[in-house]
């Protein structure tokens, strides 16, 4: 994995690919690589859908190896949703396959002069870029079936649905899972719209004949890998909670905490929470012959996903995650798991971010387009997006646009991106991350990574008022580093609680690349990623005024705790001073 594949979509005579060495990007992977390329090569003031934007798809540093949990893939560009830099990542098979094919990144550049649609096929023989307008407006599920019929079932796919082709700002990029279903999405920030603007419908990867990537120090790598797996298997979150219930296990406790945004962020408790909780979801899946414990890529040992069948026992979608269940569920007053699963299926097929769409439908309900709790109406609204009707195109551009069009004040976005499933008035530390993240409101931008081990920025006293800003800063730095490894963020608890497991992660990287990284070096990597992203955003026109929550979070109290967001602006402004 030592070369970058660039595809110039506007070359004379049709798209042309070229391969080159890593050069100045050597040693980078995942988010570190996507953000480095975007910040260096994309003019910050360019139009996100224009020829100067680039779409960078990069496996993590350990993707394609035998390291467990190393299957995340990062997608970077200038975001059509936020106007700033974007990195969205996904699970599924493509990260492992792309890495084994030897690529650290695919960079889509330029913009086709015509309206032609292309598919890209990559295997050990090389790269083919094929014009195929028959794929136009095809849903991700049908598209992948077609690719299987053409290229066989040893492939994995990176694709867009109709939403990406329509260049909607909520459009995602789908990655296929182990069963070759398009269920894993780099969803946030409209990355699918950028792929659509490049005229690329699908990238088909086939690593037949390729081998696992080999470490420089096999014995040390093997030893670290075993400690890594041992650590994940002994922690109750990674060995029990996530495999048994998936991420939706959070519904009940976030609801109990009064932090569960309900009916478009109007209260923190949802009466129907237990009907859509992870516990109920798992029970439903098992009773219908699906599964509550399933990995999204080979090499995943946490297996936080599942298979959701309909009432007749037929596959409907993968196990909807917590954020999805919240967005289409409690946030819209809907407590019907089957309806939520259908919305998830439609999102995956159209190629849409479930968080953005759930938040958008919540805003639309606030505007009176439907009643909170009306699941059928929510499905109809989403189908409008799939059809590309005028209403659908408004909705497909996200919560901020929808709020403007329909005159809604309560629009839960930062930098144009919808907030995920934790209200910042109840959990104020997450609000700091929502406000200041380079990505717009993003819960994964400051994940519970081992900042207490890393000691980023020195020891933090979490009990002091200033601690929330300090903690958020450190979490964002650590998360940026982990996003660069290709590791799933759900490793967080094991590395948070078990220093030896965190060390095993560093040891794996060192053994694989022949390095001597320390925890401090990991911190520096995280800082450099954030610096690249922050610099890009500044040049794109962002200022400290963009690092704010919407005004109503400071003014409108949030039941049941009746709190408002209390963190001062000047404290938020200090977040990036390290």
């Amino acid at each position: 994995m030592d070369k970058i594949l660039r595809i110039n979509m506007e070359a004379k005579g049709g798209p042309v690919s070229s391969e080159g060495p890593m050069g100045e990007y050597a040693g980078l992977g995942g988010r570190a690589l996507t953000s480095a390329i975007v910040s260096k090569e994309v003019p910050p003031l360019c139009h996100p859908l224009g020829q100067d934007n680039k779409l960078v798809i990069a496996p993590g540093l350990l993707s394609g190896t035998t390291a467990a949990m190393s299957g995340r893939i990062s997608v970077g560009c200038k975001s059509p949703l936020t106007g700033g830099i974007k990195e969205a990542n996904a699970g599924g098979q493509p990260s492992q396959v792309l890495a084994r094919l030897g690529y650290t990144a695919i960079v889509l550049e330029g913009k086709p002069e015509d309206n032609k649609l292309y598919k890209v096929f990559i295997n050990k023989e090389g790269v083919q870029i094929i014009h195929d307008n028959s794929l136009s407006m095809m849903g991700n599920y049908a598209l992948v079936e077609k690719m299987i019929s053409e290229y066989g079932d040893k492939i994995s796919c990176i694709s867009i649905g109709p939403a990406g082709e329509m260049k909607l700002a909520a459009a995602s990029i789908a990655c296929t899972d182990m069963e070759l279903r398009p269920t894993r999405h780099a969803a946030r920030g409209g990355v699918g719209a950028v792929m659509g603007a490049k005229g690329v419908k699908v990238i088909v990867l086939d690593d037949t004949g390729m081998k696992m990537r080999n470490p420089k120090n096999p014995d040390a790598f093997k030893e670290a890998r075993m400690k890594w797996v041992e650590g994940l298997k002994k922690h109750p979150v990674t060995s029990e909670a996530l495999p048994t219930y998936g991420t939706n296990v959070l519904t009940n406790i976030v609801n109990e905490a009064g932090a569960y945004p309900t009916n478009n962020f109007s209260s923190g408790r949802f009466d129907g929470a237990s009907n859509i909780s992870g516990e109920t979801e798992a029970e439903t899946e098992i009773s219908r012959g699906g599964s509550a414990t399933h990995g999204c890529h080979r090499g995943c040992i946490i297996r936080c996903s599942g298979i959701y069948n309909d009432k007749d026992g037929n596959y409907l979608t993968k196990q909807p995650e917590y954020e999805t269940v919240w967005a289409h569920g409690g946030n819209c007053g809907i407590d019907d798991l089957d309806a939520i699963a259908m919305l998830d299926r439609l999102d995956d097929d159209y190629g849409l971010d479930t968080i953005e769409m759930g938040a958008t439908i919540g805003v639309a309900m606030d505007a009176g387009l439907a009643e909170f709790g009306d699941a059928e109406a929510a499905i109809k609204l989403l189908k409008e997006v799939g059809k590309g009707s005028h209403l659908g195109r408004v909705l497909g551009n996200g919560a901020a646009v929808t709020g403007k069009v329909f005159g809604v004040e309560r629009v839960p976005v930062v930098k144009g991106q919808a907030m995920p499933a934790y209200d910042p008035r109840a959990v104020q530390g997450i609000g700091v991350t929502y406000a200041t993240s380079t990505m717009g409101a993003d819960h994964t931008a400051g994940y519970a990574v081992a900042t207490n081990i890393l000691k980023i920025g020195g020891d933090v006293d979490p009990l002091k008022a200033k601690g929330q800003v300090d903690l958020s800063r450190n979490l964002q730095i650590a998360t940026a580093a982990v996003d660069s490894t290709g590791m799933c963020l759900f490793i967080a608890f094991a590395v948070l609680d078990q220093p030896e497991t965190f060390q095993a992660l560093i040891d794996m990287i060192n053994a694989f690349y022949g390095l001597n990284l320390t925890a401090d070096d990991v911190s520096e990597l995280g800082k450099s990623v954030l610096k690249n992203e922050r610099d890009f955003n500044t040049k794109a026109g962002f200022s400290k005024e963009h690092d704010r929550l919407p005004e109503y979070f400071k003014k409108v109290s949030f039941p049941p705790h009746n709190t408002t967001f209390q963190v001062k602006d000047e404290d938020l402004d200090n977040l990036f001073n390290w």
Binding site: P236, N252, E279, E283, F493
Partner: protein, 195 residues
């Protein structure tokens, strides 16, 4: 009204829906949360400290189960270890507890003499299979409406796990149980294993 159900072990997890939605028990109040569970319910201290990772008292995250005092009318919810930043923030005494300081339980109440009281409980996730059968066997109060809705929602496979039932000491046949209209008031439910 007092309903005793005799159910095959495999059907017990279906009752966890009731436990996560919430139920009421008569207990001795005036003690700490830990004393309630360890002293009155027989939960071991080791289990409580190790397995119970997140505790809510009246919807507020608790950091010290030894000092949070249970009163009559209290709402208590317990959870095992949770993923994600939210899990890290909400768990008792966690490194990130300050990130939810606005909603943390900070009530300074001293333990008092024990007295009879009514407490509302919820059990979540990993604790359901650990503690659920114990609470179901011990008996709990739930609203008649919730019980009726619970029975109505069950599919045929659930009823294959049904052995027998007694309502106020008298036999209740399966057909009667399925079609029963329960009053709005609280029903005392006990669920036992059968062979």
């Amino acid at each position: 009204m007092n309903l005793n159900l005799y159910i095959k072990e495999g059907a017990i997890p279906r009752f966890f829906q009731i436990l996560q939605k919430g139920f009421t028990m008569n207990v001795q109040v005036g003690c700490s949360i830990k004393d309630l569970f360890c002293g009155q319910f027989g939960v071991t201290s080791e289990y409580f400290e190790g397995r119970v990772q997140t505790i809510f008292l009246d919807g507020k995250p608790v950091d010290d189960a030894n000092s949070a005092i249970v009163k009559s009318g209290s709402h208590i919810a317990l959870s095992g270890a949770m993923p994600g930043l939210a899990g890290a923030i909400l768990r008792k005494g966690g490194f990130y507890a300050s990130m939810r300081s606005e909603i943390s339980n900070r009530e300074k109440v001293k333990a008092e003499r024990l007295k009879e009281g009514v407490v509302f409980f919820k059990l979540f996730n990993l604790l359901l299979k650990d503690l659920g059968p114990h609470f179901l066997g011990r008996g709990l109060w739930i609203k008649g409406y919730d019980l009726e809705r619970f029975f109505q929602k069950q599919s045929d496979d659930f009823w294959t796990g049904f052995c027998s039932a007694k309502l106020d000491g008298k036999d209740l046949f399966l057909e009667e149980l399925i079609s029963m209209k329960w009053p709005k008031r609280q029903i005392f439910l006990q669920v036992h294993f059968c062979e």
